[in-house]
């Protein structure tokens, strides 16, 4: 490939590796891969500075399909691998690609810790509410009653809500999108890329083989308009094909759907504030689930906090300033010494 040195303009093609993609036809993963390839060239970051780290699962094959640096690691541990990469070289932009099983079952521990530390990583969770790679067992996000090979009578577990977990861990960036909602997904990925700190994005992903249509309510034209609220900072929570519905708080502080007009105006609605330091609003939005409520899409929370990697390096720097650059001779000779 000949590269014009003066104009390193990248296109999605530059991020495509030569490896054959082995997802099932029509798997939602394809769309997420395509949007990623679109977003990266817009970031103004040289190609060699991207690292994709994944765990294990269908989605975790992702790094093989990107012509960047990357590691397909072990089940659930990608956040920890990525933390090591970022701490070794903070100059890299590090993405974590994970599934709902990968990050919330076996990797639940690491998921929570990478977010609460605010390591500057982008964590993209492909949520298909099922285990794809192991051929269709229920996952920690599957609704109670889900019938699978391992739960022929329906699961009795109560599901986790990924955004509630992330917000509970005080993620400084938390967002949600849908695999086929191309524009929206691109904009969310771009915002995650530009966030300084741990950015968490849940993407509703269709596993058309083992859990087909699980997110139709949020992805299908004609349905999604009635089921989804697109969050915009500083704007009221309005939704519906005719933008005639909204969400406000009732007298108990609980969200409720109201129709606009008939005495209710936009001013009565709940306004989104992604920059709120306290997490009440983000929790409240995360608790809005289909079918009882419209589900929010977009950025739930985006706040500025010092990153873990910066703090680590500040300590290294100030220790070096205080004591001077480490000197082996001096180190070995500290404490009581004697001559023979």
């Amino acid at each position: 490939m000949s590269v014009d040195v003066t104009l390193p303009v990248l296109s999605p093609k530059d991020f495509a590796s030569d490896q054959e993609i082995r997802w099932c036809p029509r798997c939602g993963d394809y769309s997420i891969l395509a949007q990623m390839k679109k977003v990266l060239p817009t970031l103004g970051i040289p190609k060699e500075k991207f690292v994709f780290v994944s765990g294990i699962g269908c989605s975790s094959r992702f790094p093989y399909y990107m012509d960047t640096y990357g590691m397909h690691s072990i089940h659930g541990r990608a956040p920890a691998v990525a933390t090591g990469v970022k701490l070794a070289n903070p100059d890299l932009q590090v993405w974590v690609i994970t599934g709902d099983g990968d990050s919330l079952s076996i990797g639940g521990n690491h998921f929570m810790h990478v977010l609460r530390r605010n390591v500057d990583l982008k964590v993209i969770m492909f949520n298909n509410q099922i285990y794809g790679l192991t051929k269709g067992q229920y996952s920690p996000t599957s609704p109670t009653g889900t019938k699978t090979k391992s739960t022929p009578f329906g699961s009795v577990d109560r599901p986790l809500n990924p955004l509630s977990v992330a917000i509970g861990a005080r993620a400084t960036f938390a967002a949600r999108s849908v695999d086929v909602d191309i524009k929206h997904l691109c904009s969310v990925l771009e915002r995650a890329a530009n966030h300084k700190g741990a950015a968490f994005v849940e993407v509703y992903q269709d596993c058309n083989v083992f859990n087909s249509g699980a997110f139709e309510f949020a992805s299908k034209k004609g349905k999604k308009e009635e089921n989804v609220i697109y969050l915009e900072h500083g704007k009221p929570l309005i939704f519906g094909k005719d933008r005639d519905k909204g969400v406000r708080l009732n007298s108990h502080g609980q969200p409720e759907v109201v129709e606009l007009g008939k005495g209710v105006t936009a001013d009565d609605l709940l306004f989104h504030d992604e920059k709120a330091e306290d997490m009440n609003l983000a929790f409240l939005l995360a608790s809005m689930r289909h079918p009882e409520m419209p589900e929010p899409m977009g950025v739930f929370r985006c706040v500025d906090h010092p990153t873990y990697n910066d703090a680590v390096y500040q300590q290294v720097e100030s220790a070096t300033e205080r004591s001077g650059e480490g000197d082996l001779e001096a180190l070995f000779n500290t404490g009581d010494t004697w001559n023979v």
Partner: protein, 623 residues
């Protein structure tokens, strides 16, 4: 220094000794580790060879005065070189009945027993399970020279005018005990005095109290009529140079920092606290100005995987743990093995399985480290022989990791980790250079992440390098291209290739040496922390005219190339181990040698006498 009429002798006799073993023991709140460490320091600074064995209680807060709460610290100091903290104790300092009960069996007949008489009251005696007071009958302690010293009350008197609470005052009694022992062995207390001044710099009343207690103990030695002899142990004839004392964990930290400094690389440590490995994390956390990044992960799995990530991105990366934590790291080690990334995993072994004996030493993780991963996954294994040897073996482990692009396991143990000995401070300009290349070494257009050099090593090219973008991962890869490939032939090929790469390291490590005759009746093979006991036992046996030699293996996988030939030169092979025979099984399997074992799993190191006894037994059978 000391003759019969030195000042402070009060006309008492000074007797010359070659080596002395003393042990401080008391309740875990009595400051016995501190007393032992300080005594070691003053002896090392005086010029003795020293070797130590701290012995911690398994329970953090066992009820005061009970058998479970006894903490001990043993030191051997000598005027010739020594390799162990000694078999039998010459002087035992027991701060309470529980300490006496659990330790007195190790005191040599005729040895000196110094007890804190004040602690021998009813409730302590019954907590220790004594029916009567052993100090007051004629038989219990008849074999020893017993010195009953009311340490608590003497300490209280010594600090009476400082206005401390009674509790604070009594806590100084370990310094009283130290003072008395310093007098007994004619130690110069200056290093300890300096230590007290800096340690309690913010609390001048504690500085004064501890120094007063120390002096009071020393003066007690001078004035008491009960003790008529004190002892002199001359400095040892160590090779000339500058020395300091190191523990194994300190020396490991120094070794890895050295490797990083010499290679101009950042050192990354990812770990999760566990006894007895935590001190490595503690030591490195202090050394941030050496370009050291430490990461206290959420668990051992995050620790090893963060280290895999750091190694991929270019740091010299290490993790340390003990048995249970190493068990958790197995999958991560496999990932590092198949992605061929350089890192070091330190296992500071303790008694197992499971939580086992957290504060006691053992060598029973050899099988786990040799085989404890899924798939065919041999990894290089090295094992330091002593605390000071940790400095060199840390660098060796990292050198092998980088030169061969592989995780390396370094097997230490609780005995090495916490034990201390003199370390000759190296001349920094003479340290072995440590070169690391992160260059793309190939000519062609497209970068091939699994293209190999003559050592079968792939290049360590880092993210951020333009034009070399590549992916690594746990799925089987095709050689050269690094593309995913699960064809049967490829897996067979890659499995063999990885195994051959590790086996080939044998060409780049030192050959096995032996101490003693080049051939003969018996070869004793040891590894890890049993070095000192085995070396001394063999040396003494040779002096007694037996035909026995000692091979101590520091490279456990691959073994030194000549090990098989060495083994063949002796009629019999003995392998003493603090496990039920793990190296023995491997040696038998590898060399078809009829090795016999001497095995002990009591959480305690070998005594020299145990090894000697076995050597004699085997040679006698032979003749």
């Amino acid at each position: 220094m000391a003759t019969t009429d030195v000042p402070g002798s009060n006309g008492k006799i000074s007797e010359q000794l070659d080596a002395v073993v003393i042990r401080f023991c008391g309740d875990s709140g009595d400051g016995m580790q501190l007393a032992g460490t300080q005594f070691t320091n003053v002896s090392a600074v005086f010029g003795n060879d020293v070797s130590t064995l701290p012995d911690f209680p398994a329970e953090i807060r066992a009820p005061a005065g009970t058998l479970g709460g006894v903490s001990g610290f043993q030191i051997c100091f000598s005027s010739s070189d020594i390799f162990t903290p000694g078999d039998e104790v010459d002087t035992l300092i027991a701060m309470n009945p529980a300490a006496l009960k659990t330790n007195v069996a190790d005191l040599r007949r005729g040895g000196t027993l110094i007890v804190n008489e004040d602690a021998f009251e009813k409730s302590n005696l019954s907590k220790a399970g004594y029916e009567g007071n052993p100090l007051e009958d004629d038989v219990s302690l008849a074999a020893y020279q017993v010195q009953r010293v009311p340490m608590t009350s003497l300490t209280r008197d010594a600090v009476a005018d400082l206005g401390l609470s009674p509790r604070e005052a009594e806590r100084c009694k370990n310094f009283f005990a130290m003072g008395l022992v310093y007098w007994l062995y004619q130690r110069d207390a200056t290093p300890t005095e300096e230590w007290v001044k800096s340690k309690f710099a913010k609390k001048p009343e504690l500085v004064e109290a501890n120094l007063k207690a120390l002096q009071a103990g020393y003066n007690y030695g001078i004035t008491t009529e009960a003790i008529t002899v004190h002892y002199r142990v001359d400095p040892a004839e160590l090779p000339p140079g500058k020395y300091r004392k190191v523990t194994g964990n300190e020396a490991l930290a120094f070794g890895f920092v050295t490797a990083a400094k010499l290679s101009g690389k950042q050192l990354f440590y990812g770990g999760y606290p566990i006894t007895p490995a935590s001190d490595i994390l503690h030591e490195l956390s202090k050394l941030k100005n050496f370009n050291v990044v430490t990461f206290q992960a959420e668990d051992e799995i995050a620790a090893i995987t963060s280290v895999v990530g750091a190694a991929y991105a270019g740091d010299l990366a290490i993790t340390a743990s003990s048995g249970p934590g190493i068990a958790l790291k197995g999958e991560g080690m496999g990932l590092a093995a198949i992605t061929e990334l350089p890192l070091v995993v330190i296992d500071v072994q303790r008694g197992g399985p499971s939580t086992g004996l957290p504060t006691k030493t053992e060598q029973s993780d050899l099988y786990m480290c040799m085989y404890g991963r899924n798939g065919d996954c041999p990894l290089p294994l090295v094992a330091p022989a002593s605390p000071a040897d940790c400095f060199e073996m840390a660098q060796e482990a990292m050198r092998i990791a980088v030169e061969f692009m592989t995780p390396v396991i370094l097997l230490s143990d609780g005995y090495i980790a916490n034990g201390a000995e003199p370390w000759q401070i190296p001349d920094v300009s003479q340290l072995k250079p440590f070169n690391v290349s992160n260059e793309n070494t190939q000519d062609g257009d497209e970068f091939m992440p699994y293209l190999r050099n003559e050592k079968k090593t792939r290049p360590w090219v880092l993210p951020g390098t333009p034009g070399c973008e590549h992916r690594v991962g746990g799925l089987e890869k095709s050689d050269v291209t690094g593309n995913v490939d699960y064809s049967p032939e490829n897996h067979q090929f890659m499995t063999t290739l990885r195994a051959n790469k590790i086996a080939g390291i044998a060409d780049y490590i030192p050959e096995q040496t032996v101490e003693g005759p080049e051939s003969g009746d018996l070869l004793v093979i040891s590894w890890g922390g049993t070095y000192g006991a085995v070396r001394t036992a063999v040396k003494q046996s040779v002096q007694e005219g037996l035909s026995v030699a000692h091979a101590h293996i520091r490279y456990l996988n691959p073994f030194p190339k000549n090990l098989g030939d060495v083994i063949k030169r002796y009629k019999k092979v003995l392998i003493p181990e603090l496990n039920t025979g793990q190296l023995r099984m491997i040696i038998r399997g590898t060399y078809l040698a009829d090795a016999v074992g001497l095995n002990k799993v009591q959480g305690k190191p070998f005594l020299i006498s145990e090894v000697k006894h076995k050597i004699k037994e085997l040679i006698n059978e032979e003749n």
